[in-house]
Amino acid sequence: MKILGLLSLLATHLSANSVNIEENAGQFFSSGHTNNWAVLVCTSRFWFNYRHVANTLSVYRSVKRLGIPDSHIVLMLADDMACNHRNPKPATVFSHKNMELNVYGDDVEVDYRGYEVTVENFLRVLTGRLPPSTPRSKRLLSDDRSNILIYLTGHGGNGFLKFQDSEEISNVELADAFQQMWQKRRYNELLFIIDTCQGASMYERFYSPNLMALASSQVGEDSLSHQPDLAIGVHLMDRYTFYLLEFLEDIHPASKSNMNDLFKVCPKSQCVSTPGHRTDLFLRDPGSALITDFFGSVRKVEITMETVNLTDPIEQVEQNFVNEDLQKESYSYVDQLPVSEIIHQTLAGEDAPGSIVAVGGNGLVMPPVFHFYFTVTRHDVATRQEEPD
């Protein structure tokens, strides 16, 4: 009897395994993405907005922990918290009272910091219209099989989000930017999370396919902060992001939780505001979208079955020697202009104001402005020599 029982257990286990493999293969095709990107933006600066930076850095930490590398994360922060004069613990940003967790750490890679966090730069990153000199780390190099997570936090209102106290981005601009991304197929699916007051107004105007949006509060409601820390003196995190992070701490790269669990994060009893979400533009069922589809970076892999039969021996690379012979030419520096002689020569004689003096080893022609500067300094030198103090 026991043997029968064991055998039946084995049989079900085997069939379950085969079902799992089928399911895994199904997962390969259901999400349709091959890489993940994240754009995390904190739109506030100044010390009293500590919590927004802590929000963004906490999401950054979670996203890195779940597998997205720094090269695929565009982090935009004002970055004036850790080294702020008012920070009692310099070089740290804490996200929990009792200073349990330093989210700043030593491997934070901020791509846009300080005054570079502007509406224009944000839209340029999203649409890809960056000047050609922009380095790779500041670009969103996504393709049509990328899932992108966009997280915005800061101060907002009905239909707008304030960037660094000087400008704002409206929900129409954001919707247009996403439409341009869709036209150029810069994303496969996009998850948009916003943690500001009246955040739901920011996703009202979206009209591009494959977008899912979450907000921390409805129109007319304020998102509240979680807890102040008496030692640091400011509020450390916002409620929605705090409970979002608690939820994400339970997610590991192989977990199968889906988006419906994410929608349940932070109910009204905990958050005081009513979080909202929008899934009508998302083509798949949210229940089939995994959390790790957006927050993590689970790679699809295939076993390589073929190999090419190579039989030629390796050619020795002989060109190195030829190059070394060619490089035996000797080089020497061009004669430098003797700058000090020129300066001291004109000190002796009278020089017409407004004349152009050519000085410098690299042949700079100095305009009269610099000439004026040199006359001033020379005068100082002259007086100093006459009247030592």
């Binding site: 091959t34 601009e173 699809k300 295939e302 076993i303 390589t304 039989t311 390796i314 690379v317």
Partner: protein, 485 residues
């Protein structure tokens, strides 16, 4: 009178002229209609073989041989060669007396099968356009194919990395320069018309796997199951560098030599069978191969051991992965077909033709969509400034697209690819021009809010004086009328 035109002129935005009608024409072009010109020369050989002539790009030669011929092995009916040739064995019931039409009609299904393998088919078209045309999840193989291959790009960067987690035990030597020159460079030279490739290599020490392999005592080796493979890439990727100067897609090929404690390490597939290549690849990323060195030294060796890596074996696997990732792989041939093994360059001529054709189609489709959506965008948002250089790029993109389509219709693959690449470059430059970002979104209430404080104080006295003039004129007319009466 003066103010209104002056205000209009100074607040209008500069918009250079765009060839909108031509763009609309392009977008209506049927993709499938232009492309299938393929010159197939069918030679029917009964007695002797001609010298095989060199086939120009974009054409195929099919040699039909009698059933009794000994050129092919017994069970093989079709042989697909390296240089755009195929050998097709006739069925037994054809006699010499039959007419040519009947002969061709008999051969047609076999030739269709050959074309399915060697040439462009419907699935290739949908794969090339996969970002515009999402397939319903019926055909999983083609979805996987389209997800695996890199999108068409003017350049690619290939990085070879040697991961040595245990430098205290293994001192590894690999002749990467020679191997790249001998094995990889011929393929890339042949693909030079398709894209530019730049290669670099590096060695990473103390780079660990993210997963713990399980020891299988029956095999005496450590094993990696297919589920754990997916988590191997992320911890390593953070440490791989990339060439920060260009935005080209990067293909990473990693060679992992397990540390002495975890050797030998084998990858098992889902059926718990050992994978002969001991390698796996990730779509649109690259490949990883595990190279076991425990066989090269005995337990009494003095550490660190000097080891030379067999680059031919390694490059064989990497070359196969490279072919898959670039989209060179052909579909599975039906039974009775014998495909010639890869030549020294790793790429058959007809595979190159297929790649060039699918890249041209993809480029033409992408450039058309880019230009069309740019025109729509500029039309919708009337406030964006269109500079002259953007208009120039758009015009040159449209011209290149028209030329590319014409060349594809004529069957000249090389020129078609070249024009399509020019079209893509011009259209991308126009779409992604940094000056197009002035999304001057002014909602109407903000417009009123700006203009009312400016114009209302001015308008009030003007309106009042106009009213006064009108009432004065009316009074004068009334007085005149009264005088007349």
């Amino acid at each position: 009178v003066v103010g209104v035109p002056l205000w209009w002129k100074t607040t209008e935005t500069y918009r250079a002229w765009l060839p909108v009608s031509q763009i609309n024409e392009l977008s209506n072009l049927q993709v499938c209609s232009c492309f299938l010109l393929l010159v197939i020369c069918v030679y029917i050989i009964y007695l002797s073989l001609h010298t095989l002539s060199e086939c120009p790009c974009g054409s195929l030669v099919v040699y039909v041989i009698p059933e009794s011929s000994s050129l092919l092995p017994q069970d093989v009916d079709v042989y697909i060669g390296q240089r755009r040739t195929a050998l097709l064995r006739i069925g037994g019931q054809i006699r010499v007396g039959k007419t040519l039409d009947l002969l061709l009609a008999h051969l047609e299904p076999r030739i269709k099968q050959v074309l399915q393998v060697m040439s462009f088919s419907h699935t290739d078209i949908t794969a090339a356009l996969s970002d515009r045309v999402r397939l319903s999840p019926g055909n999983k193989e083609s979805i996987a194919d389209s997800m695996r291959t890199f999108k068409s790009s003017p350049g690619y960067e290939i990085t070879f990395s040697l991961l040595n987690p245990d430098p205290k035990s293994h001192r590894l030597h690999w002749d990467i320069e020679g191997a790249v020159q001998t094995y990889i460079q011929p393929l890339l030279t042949k693909l030079a018309s398709v894209a530019n490739f730049s290669i670099d290599s590096q060695t990473l020490y103390y780079a660990m796997l993210g997963v713990n392999p399980r020891f299988d005592s029956s095999l005496g080796a450590y094993t990696l199951s297919p589920d754990s493979l997916a988590h191997m890439i992320n911890p390593v990727e953070a440490r791989l560098g990339s060439n920060a100067a260009s935005s080209n897609p990067v293909l990473n090929f990693l060679l992992y030599v397990p540390d002495a404690q975890h050797s030998p390490l084998h990858i098992h597939d889902s059926k718990k069978q050992e994978v002969p290549t001991n390698a796996f690849h990730s779509p649109r990323w690259g490949g990883i191969m595990v190279y076991n060195v425990d066989g090269f030294y005995g337990p009494e060796a003095v550490f660190p051991v000097d080891l030379n890596i067999n680059m031919a074996k390694v490059m064989g696997v990497f070359l196969a992965q490279l072919r898959l990732l670039l989209g060179v792989q052909s579909p599975n041939a039906p039974s009775g077909f014998l495909v010639a093994p890869c030549s020294r360059t790793g790429l058959a001529d007809w595979e190159l033709d297929r790649l060039m054709w699918s890249r041209s189609v993809e480029n033409v489709a992408t450039a058309t969509t880019t230009i069309t959506s740019l025109a729509q965008l500029l039309d919708q948002i009337g406030n964006i400034v269109i500079n002259d250089n953007i208009a120039e790029q758009v015009s040159s993109a449209v011209t290149s697209l028209q030329l590319a389509v014409a060349e594809l219709e004529a069957g000249n693959l090389r020129f078609a690819l070249q024009y399509s690449k020019e079209a893509i470059l011009a259209s991308e430059r126009a779409f992604f021009d940094p000056s197009l970002l002035h999304l001057l979104y002014f909602p109407d209430d903000q417009k009123f809010a700006i203009y009312i404080p400016l114009f209302l104080p001015m308008c009030v006295p003007i309106l009042l004086s106009l009213l006064k003039i009108v009432s004065d004129a009316r009074q004068k007319r009334r007085e005149k009328q009264a005088k007349k009466d």
